[in-house]
Amino acid sequence: MATTLGWLVLALPLAGFLALALWPGEPPKPVTRLIGAGSIGAAFALTLAIYAGMLSSAPDRRLHTSTLYEWIDIGGLKVDLAIRIDQLSVMMMLVITGVGFLIHLYATEYMGHEPGYRRFFAEMNYFVFSMLLLVEAENFLFLIVGWAFVGLASYLLIGFYYDRPVAVAAARKAFVINVIGDVGMVLAAFILIRDLGTLDYTQVFQRAPSGLSSNAAEAVALLLLVGAAAKSAQVPLHTWLPDAMEGPTPVSALIHAATMVTAGVYLVCRTHVLYQLAPAAADTVAVMGCVTLFLAATIAIAQVDIKRVLAWSTVSQIGYMIMAAGLGAYSAAMFHFLTHAFFKALLFLSAGIVIHALHGEQSLDRMGGLGRYLRFGYVTFAVGCLAIAGFPGFSGFFSKDDILASSLAAGSLGQALWVFGTVAEGLTAFYMFRLLFRTFADPEPPGGYTERPHGSGLAMAVPVAILAAGAAVIGWIQVPFGWSWVTDWLDPVFADSVKPQVLPTDNDEILTLAVSTAISLAGIALAWWLFFRDPARGRAAGRAMPEARETLEEAYRFDEVYDEILVEPGKELGDALRTEVEPIAIQGPPAAVVRWVRDFARGLSWAESGLVRTYAYVLIAGLVVVGVVFSVTVGR
């Protein structure tokens, strides 16, 4: 039952994509809306049904697998087109289809004025299908297929405005970096095939403890990490995500905030057995997440593009999840994934209200005082800020504290990372409220607005309101010293662990609650003092440290360094190959063949004189020769 529904959940967005893509001509907008948003809505309803079905069965009987088709059966390696419905994948599916549906609904109005309405929804449906394939896959092969599909969907949607060179460049950058990750995943799968002879999750996790040498386990885990880092925009493969903001805002909300970029977190949680066999790789994951969350949080302080601030904050928040997953606090990572999906989608969609109202303006320098015109957007954005900043009672408060408290419980490395995570929480609160105040609080930009910013319609307001409600309260599903529904729900998934999951002790909880709450309140207060109480102070602070500010604005110049050491030498190598090697080695042999054939044909064409008498001579001569030969050989 659950698996049938699982296949249907997978099929609906695919059907929506095919219907929209193959519709002859341009379908009417209501039809596009109905198919585009309806398919995701129906998928969400079915996912809810799966979830309800799971709730009514015992916790250890909630894992379902189903095979549709035998894909590969060669040399002892058998790979099926199969899905796996368990607590982890259902949690992902609920977010993908649920938040995805709200964002699709929002996009029906947001994208209303744009050309390519049908293309937008077709590609969005394709993305949802790919993402569901990624989380429902029962083996590494289809995980990689979904992994590559979401990469393609991301490429298509970042480059949605294909007439803008910046957008096309950003799309290409995202694709290239993601392919680096794909290569890592494929190599990891090769090692698994070599050593374990299977790609099925169930069998890999069963055989890995005995079948994988510790070196092989480290190699697999590190190669998978390359994939996770590329997809989840972790240092050093993070540079594509801020550029990806060139895509339409609903795309940023769905793909580059709520779902796709958290695939790396899902991957580490799903393959937790491998990471537990590879402690060095797991530590690398944690450190990488921590470095990312800290760097991104500092960068976000100095950005002046509203969507880029949110992009860096996404990088930072995923850093938290990756850090938790690396330390072995899987359910804390998944809990933060859940709350982050709500508040980050909310923040992006609220930013979308602002951008929509200002007809595409994204620079903070030309914003301010918008709270007067966009009261609704102000409130929802503020809710999102409170949630991400970890204000007590809002969702981010619970999930981020869960991560920090767990890292405190994860040995000396975890305690070191805890310090950075806690400081970054203050930074998060600071840059989010800087963003909030600079957008919505006075003063208005110099010269004011040429026309009165307009509010948005119901199709945009309703999803934002639902997300705001979610971002406010969803954290209450796991409360320290109260209940831990997320951990309990996911517990059976991690039952096959070699090591038990990292869970915080009471002391860790108390210390984290006290320190991180104080720090995030301090961050909010500082932002309030600089950008609300007297905005001149904020401007002066920015001018006081021009060098630091520039470094942060340019994101520590990762892009420049990559250009210097990778892109430019790559171009030079390409040029050299084109001018030196290609004409001789590649074009040489075929050109020689062409020349030879042409000369040979020229020689033959001499015989085709067109003079009938010449032909007659040749004919007679041939006849005479045949006659002579005949009489000599047969005549005897």
């Binding site: 067109g610 003079l611 008498r613 007659a616």
Partner: protein, 102 residues
């Protein structure tokens, strides 16, 4: 079997054929070409009639008649073409008349 022996027929035919062949290969005037072709056809006719008498079978003679009819038709068309071309181009040299060559 009396009278002219078969070898005489074949000899005459061979001589006629070689004359015709010489004409076809060497001459450039279309009128003479047509004449040479007539010689070739009639060389074949002599052979047909000769064998017909040799085997006492009239099939060969009937064939010879058919060939004559065909030859007559061919000459009519050929001469017509030659006249038309001459009017058009004032040339009587087959090597010059090569504008239809591919």
């Amino acid at each position: 079997m009396s009278g002219v022996p078969l070898a005489a027929y074949l000899g005459l035919s061979g001589v006629l054929f070689l004359l015709g062949l010489y004409g076809v290969l060497v001459r450039r005037n279309p009128l003479l070409l047509l004449l040479a072709i007539e010689l070739l056809l009639n060389a074949a006719n002599v052979t047909l009639v000769g064998f017909s008498r040799y085997w006492n079978n009239t099939d060969g003679q009937i064939f010879a008649l058919v060939v004559m009819v065909v030859a007559a038709a061919e000459v009519v068309i050929g001469l017509g073409l030659v006249v038309a071309v001459f009017r058009q181009r004032m040339v009587l040299d087959v090597d010059e008349l090569s504008t239809l060559k591919g």
